[in-house]
Symmetry: C2
Subunit: 436 residues, 2 copies
Amino acid sequence: MKLQHPPGTKDFFPEDAAKRSHILDTWRRVSIRNGFELVDGPVFELLELYKVKSGEGIVNELFHFQDRGGRELAIRPEFTPTLARMVASRANALPKPIKWFCMPNLCRAERPQRGRLREFWQWNVDVLGSDSPIADAESILAAVDALHAFGLRPEHIRVKISHRQTVKLVLEKLGVPDEKIMPAFELLDGRDKMTAEEFSQGAAKLGLTPDRVERFDQVGRMSYPVGKLDAMARALSLEGLESMGELMALDETLRAFDIADWCEYDMGIVRGLAYYTGTVYEIHEASGAERAIAGGGRYDKLIELFDGPPTPAVGFGMGNVVLEHVLIDKGLMPTDAMPRPDVFVIALTDDAAKALPGTVRRLRLDGWHTRFSYRSSRNVGKLLKEADQCGAVRALILDDGVQSGKAKLKMLQEQGREREVPLENPMTPEPKVEAD
Amino acid sequence: MKLQHPPGTKDFFPEDAAKRSHILDTWRRVSIRNGFELVDGPVFELLELYKVKSGEGIVNELFHFQDRGGRELAIRPEFTPTLARMVASRANALPKPIKWFCMPNLCRAERPQRGRLREFWQWNVDVLGSDSPIADAESILAAVDALHAFGLRPEHIRVKISHRQTVKLVLEKLGVPDEKIMPAFELLDGRDKMTAEEFSQGAAKLGLTPDRVERFDQVGRMSYPVGKLDAMARALSLEGLESMGELMALDETLRAFDIADWCEYDMGIVRGLAYYTGTVYEIHEASGAERAIAGGGRYDKLIELFDGPPTPAVGFGMGNVVLEHVLIDKGLMPTDAMPRPDVFVIALTDDAAKALPGTVRRLRLDGWHTRFSYRSSRNVGKLLKEADQCGAVRALILDDGVQSGKAKLKMLQEQGREREVPLENPMTPEPKVEAD
């Protein structure tokens, strides 16, 4: 009876865990230097919480269950409802802007496929309590800062930015009636996953004439670099609109943050979710081969939906699965992400073996990653081989010298260079030798 | 409709998350320096997996559900079955000893009470593939190293060590028949939670005469320091037994690791779980006021139960909930665990405000935790107050000096000491002034 992990989940053996740590640690480091504070919520919530934001339809996508008190619970499929609940419960007490991040594991009861697993980790970064486009820009900055920290560069990445109100106006000008704006958003959002014919049929259902369908398709393919918003406004006859004003302010801040070359405007980006109210963005690998690396935007009405005070908000989610594919494809996933032992202690005599545990303990107390052999072998070759196999940087060799408080420190990476060191303080730096 | 987190779970606002991070980060740092490698498994497993180790009885303690394929799944209530499954699946390929740790969130469908929540984090540390008492000692060393790193000292903590086979022999000598050894273990394990009368009744049910009941009670209260095993062996007439030989070797290694003063032998410790086979231990706060901080021991047969090859193993689990109570009680939980901004950048003129975002971006790229105000205020007092409120160590003040590439760096903690710095490299260390 060999039991396996459930389909769509992963076992993290040490090398896999090290890769995941590389991603989570980078997210955390970048979050902190960008001034975001770590938060978290329970791994399961009341099922009701997810219906508030997403309606009854969400239930099928959740792993849900009852507790013994008959409460309907669900494993979290996303963090935003928890975030909204937490902010709503303390909104008036929290200093603004609220800048929070978290890196929860999330579960979705969907069919596993490339880029989508049933359990995954998602970096959530949100700025709440500010309606300034600086907040939108700072959320994008955090995402770009992380991608940069992973070794990605502007040529690998497209941050595609749009604005719900702007796209809505364009759609209205094309003749899409108000009640069909959400279906039109969904059609634009799903465009990359359907054939040209499917798209045309969908557009026709919105009541568009064939020439308007073509124009709709064109709008969905329009892309302008940062700094060229005025050209976009002219092409779409959007000059002077309030939402264009917001994009203009965002544009200016993206340039001031010096991340313009990562970003572009793309009117085909609307995000499928009903709760976005302003700026929306998706981050893609430049070739478009993978699903989105991240997606986000402004959601100024959500905290009220969770019974909180009016609280403008903007943020994004970035999953670990697509990101890991991209990093591996670009050769940017470290192959040696596992922590290497600083020192492997070996004993070549029985007396030396008595001094070994105390030496190991002292080294660890001083913060050194220290290992030793469980074997009773005194064979230096075998023991050094074990040190080498676990990737140790140095071997500390205890032999007859321990009687006089001495040991040998051998660099395992530099042609085995070796020097005598005091047993009490074996990692003391090598004295600098003056050049002749 | 104010929705709350489910009972027995917690919201981690920034200060709570910082406290949890203090615990998880310390566990991780100590694990790595002790030579353990991070692993992890899915947050839910096949329900069947938990029955293998714990039988049908476990199902009531789990949050379980079906996926759309009708698979019975459960949120993990412990990590050991996942560990055993992972080791069993690759046992022959993994170099020995296998030294793994993880820090999973676990969920149990029980009534929340002090020291027990429905979701919690547990540090798991295991050594597999070695039957040497050095492995037992090294697992205890890792636990002690962590408690020491949290600021706890031997006077705060008792690592209570026992041995299943030794206790079994003592019970046999008292006349407990073989088929009642497990109930006797459970009685000893639960002794602290029952009255003297309940304990006597339980002992009588094991077939013990009143004088044997008293002796049984005495055995459960016996405690000997490390280094005095011989006295315990004499008191219990256990000289020369194989299991005492294992304890003797453990005793020697605990002393060699210099952690003897944290530990003692306590024949009342047996651990309730059926799968322990040798050494068992529990870590308690010295006064005994709280539940166990950690519990573990040797489980040499478990990997075979999961269809792996014979693989001796020893390890422990340490939860975050009791540990957090103990650290708070002792005043050892840092009150300032939240990351402080290294620098808060403020602009006092409109020109300076244009230079602000680029300055922020450069500081962050250099790794500095950098914040700034979203407000358009140019009032130095208000802006410095905002810097102060978020705990920033320094303020970088941009004013008319930016035209000539200068800014002011103000230490917010040292009576506001201020100096001029180059805008391009504002965090450059202060030049050392030679004493007269």
